[in-house]
C-alpha cells in the first residue's frame, strides 16, 4: 500500500516538473518562432533590388600611412572601403574602451600613426550603428560612443586592437579584435590605383585633409535620370490618387493628399519637398534615426548606388545624403546635397533633388590638376578670409549639365570650402581658379 502510494507521488512530481519544463519550452520557442518569421521578412526585403544600408552608410575615404607618408587611396575598379567592411564582418570585435578624450596632441598622433589604415566617415556614427552594419553583436549593445574614423594597424602584431576616433571631441576608443588578419587589407592597399599624398591637420573647425602636392583627378560623365511628379506621388502618397489636389504657380507644383501629405515640386530648380504630417514620431536612438532615414531614401529614389550618408545631426534630427564619385562628394547646384531628411513632432520632411546619376559614360574631358591645399589656403587669405573662418574644406565634384545634352552631366573636380555654414566652390569665394597653371 505504502509503496504504491510512494510511486504515485513520485510520478506526480515528475509529471508536474515535466509540464513546467514543457510550458517553459513552448514559451521560449514561440518567441523563437516569431523571431524566425521576422528574419524571413527581412530576408525577402534584402532580396529586392536594394542597395544595402551598409553601403549607404559607409566610410567614404580610406587613408594609408606607410613608414614615411600618408596617402589617400582609392581603387577605381573596386571600392576599398566596402571591401574592408566586408572583411570586418568576420572579425570578432570586443566592446570599445575609452583611451583618451580632448587631447588634441595625442589625437593627431593617433590619426597620423604609421603602418595604419584608416577609414573615414563623412559624419560621426555610434558604435551601436557600426555593430548593426557589421552584424556584430558585441558592438550592438554599446550606445552613445560616437566616432568617424576606424583605424587599424596592419604591421604591429602585438597590437590586436582597432581604434575608433572622433574628430569632434578627440575621443579615441580601443576595441580588441580576434579572428582577424591584416593580409587581405594589405592586399587591397597595394591594389589602389589612386595614391594622393596628404597630411591631416587639426584646425579650429576640426580635422582637415590637406593635399601636399597639386593633385591630378579625372573628370567623369554620367547619364542622369529623374522621375515625373506622378511617380513620386504614387510612391509617397497611398497609391489611391483620388483626393489629390494640384496647384501650380510659376512652375512650382503642389500636390496635397488631404491634410496629411504634401509634395511640392519646383520644376525650375528640379527640387522637391515632401512633407508627411502623419509621421510625427521622432527616432529615439541613433540606430533608429539612421534606419528610418535609410528607409526613406530607398523609397524615394531607385538609383542610389552612389549615395552616401553625408551628415547626421542628432540634435536637429536632420540627415543629409550626397552622391559620391571615386570617393569624392558631388556638389550639385543645390545647397543641401542630394537628399535631406528631417524628423520632427510636426511631421517628417524630405527635401531632394530629382536628378540622380544613373549610368557612367566615358568622359571626353582631360584630367584636371588642382592646386595643393596650401595654395588654396593662401588664395583664400588673399581674398580676405582668415584661416579660422574656414569651417570645412573638401575636394569634390562639380555638377555641370551639358548644353547640348541635358541627359548627360559632366563631373569636374574642384575644391569646396565651407564658410559661414555654406559650401561653395573655391572659384566662387575667390574668383580665382583652383586649377594649377
Amino acid at each position: 500500500m505504502k509503496f504504491s502510494r510512494l510511486i504515485v507521488q513520485v510520478l506526480l512530481v515528475i509529471a508536474v516538473i515535466t509540464s513546467i519544463v514543457l510550458s517553459f519550452f513552448i514559451w521560449t520557442n514561440t518567441a523563437r518562432y516569431q523571431r524566425g518569421r521576422n528574419i524571413d521578412v527581412t530576408d525577402a526585403e534584402t532580396n529586392k533590388n536594394e542597395i544595402p544600408m551598409n553601403q549607404v552608410i559607409s566610410p567614404t575615404s580610406v587613408m594609408w600611412h606607410d613608414e614615411d607618408e600618408q596617402y589617400l587611396i582609392y581603387n577605381s575598379n573596386e571600392n576599398i572601403s566596402l571591401s574592408i567592411q566586408k572583411i570586418m564582418q568576420d572579425w570578432k570585435i570586443g566592446s570599445p574602451k575609452l583611451v583618451t578624450k580632448k587631447d588634441g596632441a595625442y589625437y593627431q598622433k593617433v590619426i597620423q600613426a604609421k603602418n595604419t589604415i584608416q577609414m573615414v566617415y563623412p559624419t560621426a556614427i555610434t558604435t551601436n550603428v557600426l555593430g548593426y552594419l557589421l552584424n556584430n553583436d558585441s558592438l550592438k549593445d554599446e550606445d552613445g560612443k560616437k566616432f568617424n574614423r576606424i583605424l587599424v594597424n596592419l604591421k604591429d602584431k602585438k597590437d590586436q586592437n582597432i581604434y575608433l576616433a572622433n574628430d569632434n571631441n578627440y575621443a579615441v576608443y580601443k576595441a580588441k579584435v580576434r579572428n582577424a588578419s591584416a593580409g587581405p587589407i594589405t592586399k587591397l592597399v597595394k591594389k589602389a590605383n589612386i595614391n594622393l599624398k596628404i597630411r591631416l591637420d587639426i584646425m579650429k573647425h576640426g580635422v582637415f585633409t590637406s593635399y601636399a602636392n597639386p593633385i591630378k583627378l579625372q573628370s567623369y560623365s554620367y547619364v542622369v535620370n529623374g522621375k515625373k511628379d506622378g511617380e513620386y506621388t504614387t510612391a509617397l502618397f497611398d497609391s489611391n490618387a483620388n483626393g489629390l489636389v494640384t496647384t501650380e504657380d510659376n512652375g512650382v507644383y503642389s500636390y496635397n493628399y488631404g491634410e496629411s501629405k504634401r509634395l511640392v515640386s519646383d520644376h525650375n530648380t528640379d527640387e522637391l519637398t515632401f512633407t508627411d504630417y502623419t509621421d510625427t514620431s521622432v527616432p529615439k536612438n541613433q540606430l533608429a534615426f539612421l534606419q528610418r532615414g535609410y528607409q526613406k531614401v530607398i523609397n524615394l529614389q531607385d538609383s542610389i548606388s552612389n549615395l552616401r550618408l553625408y551628415n547626421a545631426n542628432w540634435k536637429n534630427k536632420d540627415l543629409t545624403f550626397r552622391e559620391y564619385v571615386e570617393g569624392f562628394p558631388i556638389f550639385k547646384k543645390s545647397q543641401f546635397g542630394s537628399i535631406e531628411i528631417k524628423f520632427s513632432r510636426q511631421g517628417s520632411t524630405e527635401h531632394f533633388v530629382n536628378t540622380v546619376l544613373e549610368v557612367p559614360v566615358p568622359s571626353n574631358q582631360a584630367a584636371t590638376k588642382l592646386k595643393s591645399t596650401n595654395d588654396i589656403f593662401k588664395g583664400l587669405q588673399k581674398a580676405g578670409f582668415s584661416l579660422n573662418d574656414i569651417e570645412g574644406l573638401e575636394v569634390g565634384y562639380q555638377w555641370e549639365t551639358e548644353a547640348d545634352n541635358e541627359k548627360v552631366v559632366d563631373l569636374k573636380p574642384t575644391y569646396y570650402i565651407k564658410i559661414d555654414g555654406h559650401w561653395k566652390a573655391y572659384e566662387d569665394w575667390t574668383n580665382q581658379t583652383a586649377e594649377e597653371e
Binding site: 502510494r5 504515485v8 507521488q9 510520478l11 506526480l12 509529471a15 508536474v16 515535466t18 509540464s19 514543457l22 510550458s23 519550452f25 513552448i26 520557442n29 514561440t30 523563437r32 518562432y33 524566425g36 518569421r37 524571413d40 530576408d43 525577402a44 532580396n47 533590388n49 581603387n75 577605381s76 575598379n77 573596386e78 571600392n79 560623365s221 547619364v223 535620370n225 531607385d302 538609383s303 548606388s305 571615386e326 544613373e358 549610368v359 557612367p360 559614360v361 566615358p362 571626353n364 545634352n405 541627359k407 548627360v408
Partner: protein, 271 residues
Amino acid sequence: MDFKRIEVIFLIVFFSLDIFLFLSFRNSQQLVSSTSTNTSTVAEMRKRNISFGSLDSKSGYAYYLGSQPNDDLEENSSKLQDQKVEYEEANHTLASTLDSPISVTSSNRKKIMDEFIKKEKNILYGKNYKYAPQLSSQSQMVYVATSNLGDVYDKTNQLIFTISNGEVLGYTQTYIRSMIILHERQSIKSEKDVITNLYANSEIPNNSKIAYANLAYTKLLEAKGSTIYIPVWFVTIKNKDSKVSTTKKVNAFTGNIIKSSANGDSSYNAQ
C-alpha cells in the same frame, strides 16, 4: 484514502497535460522549419516539371563597360584571303562571302569553325571570339567576343556564320578593340536569384527546361559617342512539348527583366 484518490486524479490530469504540451511543442517546431524560403521555390519549380541543373547562388561582381567604335576591320580587311568582303561604315560591320563554302554537320561544325577562325587570313581577330551555342541556330553559328572581363553578347561585337544546306557560306563580323571599366565593380544577382525571380514573375511556364543561363555584357545605351555595356543574364527556356525556345534577359545589377522592343534592340530600362 481520499487524499490518495486526489493524487491519482492529479497524476492523470498532469500526464494528459504533458502529452498536450508535448504535441503543441512539436507543432510549433515544425512551423519554424517550414518558413525557409528560396529552397521551396526551387522545389516548387521541380514539381511543376521545370528542369534545370544546379543553380549557383553565389553573387559575383561586374562593371559598367564602355567602348568606342572603330574601323579596325576595314583597315585590316586586305589581310583576308579567299573571300569577298564588304564593309558598312554606319554599323562598322564587315560582311564576307567565302569563295569556297565549308561543309559542316551539326555535330562537327564547332570543331571545324573553331579551327577556321584561328587563322588571320580567314577571320580578323578570330582569337577574341568564342562559340555561343545559346545564340546559335540551325542556320547560324554565333561567335561572341570574349575577354578577361567576360563575354559580350551583343551585335556590336559578334561573328556570325551563315549556314545553308550544310555549308558555311559566309559571315558578318563586328569588332571592338577594347572595353574600359567606367565605374567601380558592383555586386550582381546570382543565377539562382535570377531564375527564381523569373519564375515568380510567371516568365517560366510549366513543363519546360532551362537550357542555358549565361552572364554576358550587352549594350545598354549610346551616349557621347560611346557604347555602354551592362552585365545581363541570358536565360533560355525551352518548352518540352513544342521544343520552342525563348531567351529572357535580366539586368544583372538590378534583377529587372528587360523587355525587348520590336527592332530587336534591348530597350533601355534600368528600373
